[in-house]
């Protein structure tokens, strides 16, 4: 099973990449859709024009939102759309007929998108390097390792969250509405719209205990050096705890959904 997977993976990656190339226009539009960080950047640099806000001067805001853009493009997932569509249109049946677990194939397809995303986001990454080069966690091997681990964690957390919500489509029609609510809370509590430390202290404290921050805010703060190494490691620990939790929960729901699927068909 594992060896089969290792042999299958390069092919799946290659085809995933070919699909990304085939859909490059759509992909580019998707990237442009992630323009909110730029708008927020414009807003906060205007606010910071007459003096810094907390630890954030104009340069810090620029670095923060560029980092948000980079991490968001790299780690975000389309799983919930894909899964709900496959369930609705019956393509899930074809996936179930293959001798590899559908979630493994999905994950391979998603990972295949990463190189293309790196390519597209590289200009932004370069600007970020110019703006905040010395602060970035890429010079120091320890901080770099923590950064990579937190990016992988963010990717996995988003993926399994979306498997969880997408699997709801096996039970209810409105899984995408549930995801919409998740997305709304995520935009606020992940640091996507506003750095968590600028929110009222109690909101920020709650947000640091919820999973949303670990989908985006944590790797961003590590990347631009907003957190010291000990608290970064603590954050990383909690992040991977959440990854484990969502992995288990999404698999349980998936299995329950499958029991339903094979009993009623679709």
């Amino acid at each position: 099973m594992m060896r089969h997977l290792m042999r299958a993976y390069p092919t799946l990656l290659r085809i995933g990449f070919a699909e990304m190339v085939a859909y490059r226009a759509e992909f580019l539009i998707w990237v442009l859709t992630t323009n909110m960080p730029l708008v927020m950047m414009g807003l906060w640099t205007a606010v910071a024009a007459d003096g810094p806000v907390g630890r954030f001067g104009q340069r810090e805001f620029v670095a923060y939102y560029l980092a948000i853009l980079v991490i968001r493009i790299l780690t975000s997932s389309w799983m919930v759309w894909e899964l709900t569509m496959d369930i609705r249109q019956g393509a899930l049946a074809a996936r179930l007929l293959r001798p590899l677990h559908p979630l493994i194939v999905y994950s391979a397809e998603h990972l295949a998108a990463v190189p293309m995303r790196m390519l597209v986001i590289s200009p932004v990454a370069i600007v970020l390097f110019v703006v905040a080069g010395p602060q970035l966690a890429i010079g120091d091997p320890v901080r770099l390792a923590i950064l990579l681990a937190s990016c992988a964690g963010a990717w996995a957390l988003l993926f399994f969250t979306q498997v969880l919500i997408g699997s709801l489509a096996l039970f209810i029609d409105s899984a995408l509405s549930v995801f919409d609510i998740w997305l709304g809370i995520h935009s606020l509590l992940s640091g996507y719209l506003v750095p968590l430390e600028l929110l009222p202290p109690w909101v920020s404290a709650v947000a640091h205990r919820l999973p949303f921050h670990y989908c985006l805010g944590l790797p961003v703060e590590i990347l631009i050096g907003l957190v010291d190494t000990p608290s970064a490691l603590r954050g990383l620990g909690l992040q991977w705890l959440y990854v484990g939790g969502f992995f288990v929960a999404s698999n349980l729901l998936w299995r329950a959904g499958m029991r339903r699927f094979v009993a009623f068909g679709a």
């Binding site: 299958a8 085809i15 019956g90 074809a94 179930l96 007929l97 293959r98 001798p99 009993a263 068909g265």
Partner: protein, 295 residues
Amino acid sequence: MHALDGLAFDIAAGQRVGFLGPNGAGKTTTLKILSGLLHPSSGEVTVAGFRPQARAPAFLKTITLVMGQKQQLLWDLPPAETYAMNRALYDIPRKEADARLGSLVELLDIGDLINKPTRQLSLGERMKCELVAALLHGPKVLFLDEPTIGLDIAMQARIRQFIRDYNEAHGATVLLTSHYMEDVAALCPRVIVIDKGHLIYDGELKELVHRIRPDKRITIRVSTPADPEVLARLPNLVSHTDNQLVLSVPLPRVNEVVRDALASLAAIDLTVEDPPLEEVMRELFASHQQKRQPA
């Protein structure tokens, strides 16, 4: 209320079996159960020694399911990419996959298609490519759900011939559903007929035709319209126009009727055949309905 009820049949390895029934009879449900996509609420299913619902990888590598209305080809990539993906997913050794792909491509004559994006292919071309994707792992059991739907007559015949060749070359078992009786008549010596989830016939196709419609169908083309007097004399006239008459005649009387018709009509052509399969099926379902009414 069960979609299927008391349905029992055995198919020996290597057989080609047609699976017939009106819309909603439970054909697709049965195919889904046999391929492990649906679990029966009760009863036993064994396919090639496996319990389908366990969906063991070894089982999935043994079977294939082709649905004429759905496709597995990646829409915006050439079929060759789907084949590469299936090779990876089914873990087929490269040599074996290349050899099989080569022979399938040759059999279906699609060498120039497999590198064009799927979206640019016609329906018939797509079905051919779809079949290759479904057979690349060399399955021993083929479940074909309406594989020729929407295709023109020539393409239907082509696909039929291919399925027959594959069956004969690999000794694979074929279970086929189709709306086109031609498909079934040409491909399947044996048919299983279900209606509302009940088995109503299982046996040879010829036998079914003879049991439901023992009469032969005689079609006579004439150069001049037949006399009304002659018409009245002919037995069981099914339909007639100025230049064609169709009669339905029990087998023992066929010789006598043919002789008589040739003598009294200006016949230019005459054929004797079984009644159309469509009619046989209609009658079979109608009689089955009647039997079920009182209960």
